[in-house]
């Protein structure tokens, strides 16, 4: 077996990893996933081999998900039972996904897997991202900006909650104590794991699936996804650690930054309404979609499916694609910070008004 090729750490590398970790952590603490789609390529461009980058990324993701889920559980946003059940099925999805990726790689090489990953990204992000964003605007229009506005259960979720399959029903507090069949949760968990194994961001399907198929409010879905990510990440990390691929120094440096970010992201969720989570998630998904679109011609050309494009054009497209990914993460982080600051300001104003009203009433 080839020797494990770990990165030599210097001040610049440490700083960059810390910074990307911080921004990724903020997005992750807020929408339940994120960061991985920039971190893995970032580690690879710093010189880490792909397998070390993927393994180390996973080893930083599961402790991050653990910290974020503990934090958000304190705010009453986590459905641990649902997260654990989905996590177990997601784990199965991860292993099937890995096998599937290996088969594609054996038959079509690295470009084959790249093309497969990009197509999955584009299809999932266009369908789910578009739907989440449309729903976010609809929620905002229909009174989502009113304090204490009630969560509206989507039509599909109402149907799922009405189906009774004896012996498979479980009660979940995230959907108001209603019961849902495990047979509906299993494919959702499996798909989340499958996607996580292919594009490293299972939350892009897990969170919307919980929201629209099971009827979990967006804030709770994004928090519960962190439990799913923890179960999935822990399993995956053990698998990679068994092979000796985890560069724990690298993972812990990213974790150093990402835990600072995770705390801000999690605190941010307590100041925003449900539709804000949907809007930021939808926005990130659509920007990531464009990033993958820029890479498509490169893969198609490598596989001789279109006429060959020059090396210069190909490297330009790859750079634009990576830049767009970074833009997705940065704009997500800015949107979260803006929502947090706006929320704090409003909250302080409400408190001051309430105190003033109380003092007037007393006198």
């Amino acid at each position: 077996m080839e020797a494990v090729n770990f990165l030599d750490l210097n001040a610049t590398t440490v700083f960059l990893l810390f910074l990307v970790g911080f921004i990724g952590g903020m997005v992750s603490g807020f929408i339940g996933s994120g960061g991985a789609f920039v971190l893995t390529p970032a580690m690879m461009s710093l010189g880490a081999p792909a397998v070390i980058a993927v393994a180390s990324n996973m080893a930083h993701k599961f402790p991050k998900a653990l910290v974020a889920s503990i934090k958000r559980n304190k705010y009453g946003q986590v459905d641990i039972k649902l997260g654990l059940i989905m996590g177990i099925f997601a784990e199965i999805g991860v292993f099937v996904g890995k096998e599937f990726m290996t088969n594609i790689r054996n038959n079509f090489g690295d470009t084959g897997t790249d093309l497969y990953v990009s197509v999955v990204f584009i299809v999932v992000l266009a369908l789910v991202g578009g739907y989440v964003l449309r729903d976010a605007f609809r929620c905002k229009r229909e009174g989502g900006d009113v304090e204490g506005a009630e969560h509206i259960t989507p039509r599909l979720a109402k149907w799922v909650q009405s189906i009774n399959i004896p012996g498979t029903m479980m009660r979940f507090h995230s959907i108001g104590g209603k019961r849902v069949s495990v047979l509906f949760i299993a494919p959702l968990g499996f798909a989340t794991g499958l996607l996580a194994a292919s594009i490293a961001v299972g939350g892009f399907i897990g969170v919307p699936a919980m929201m629209y198929v099971l009827g979990v409010p967006a804030l709770m879905a994004s928090a519960t996804e962190l439990v799913v990510a923890f179960v999935m990440g822990m399993g995956g990390s053990l698998f990679y650690a068994w092979e000796g691929f985890v560069d724990i120094r690298l993972a812990m440096i990213i974790l150093a930054g990402s835990l600072f970010g995770v705390q801000i992201g999690a605190i941010g969720t307590t100041y925003v309404r449900d539709y804000t989570v949907k809007m930021i998630m939808g926005m990130i998904m659509i920007i990531v979609l464009f990033s993958r679109l820029f890479e498509m011609p490169v893969y198609l050309s490598d596989l001789d499916l279109i006429s060959t494009i020059s090396e210069g054009t190909s490297s330009l497209l790859s750079n634009i694609s990576f830049g767009t990914l970074a833009l997705a993460l940065l704009s997500g982080a800015f949107a979260i910070l803006a929502a947090l600051l706006k929320g704090i300001k409003q909250h302080k104003k409400q408190q001051a008004d309430a105190e003033y009203a109380a003092s007037v009433a007393e006198s």
Binding site: M1, A3, V4, F6, L9, A59, H60, F62, P63, K64, L66, V67, I70, K71, K74, Y75, M234, S237, L238, A241, W242, E243, G244, F245, V246, D247, I248, R249, A251, M252, L255, A256, L259, F260, V262, Q263, I264, A266, I267, T270, Y271, G343, I344, H347
Partner: protein
């Protein structure tokens, strides 16, 4: 008349609980990261040994990840709280 700023009011602590915990967990977290850099080579060799087939210590990275997440997670949580960034109470 107001009290001098450098003297805490009677019954008030000089440092808040969040600040004390930030300092405590901050020191612990810093200690862990120092150890990580001191044992940089050993960690590398351990991964290489696991990769070559000696699986005795394969779980060490997972233990390291869990310990760091709990200590550094507590530190970062108290850090923002000490700076005044707190969750909204519903």
């Amino acid at each position: 008349m107001t009290k001098p700023a450098d003297k805490p009011a009677p019954g008030r602590k000089m440092f808040s609980t969040a600040t004390l915990f930030t300092i405590l967990y901050g020191c612990l977290s810093l200690g862990l990261y120092i150890l990580l850099f001191v044992f940089n080579d050993e960690i590398r060799h351990m991964a290489e040994a696991t990769s070559r087939g000696d699986k005795t210590l394969f779980f060490i990275p997972i233990i390291i990840a869990l310990v760091f997440s709990l200590v550094h997670g507590a530190f970062t949580g108290y850090f923002w709280e000490a700076l005044g960034l707190k969750a909204k109470k519903k």
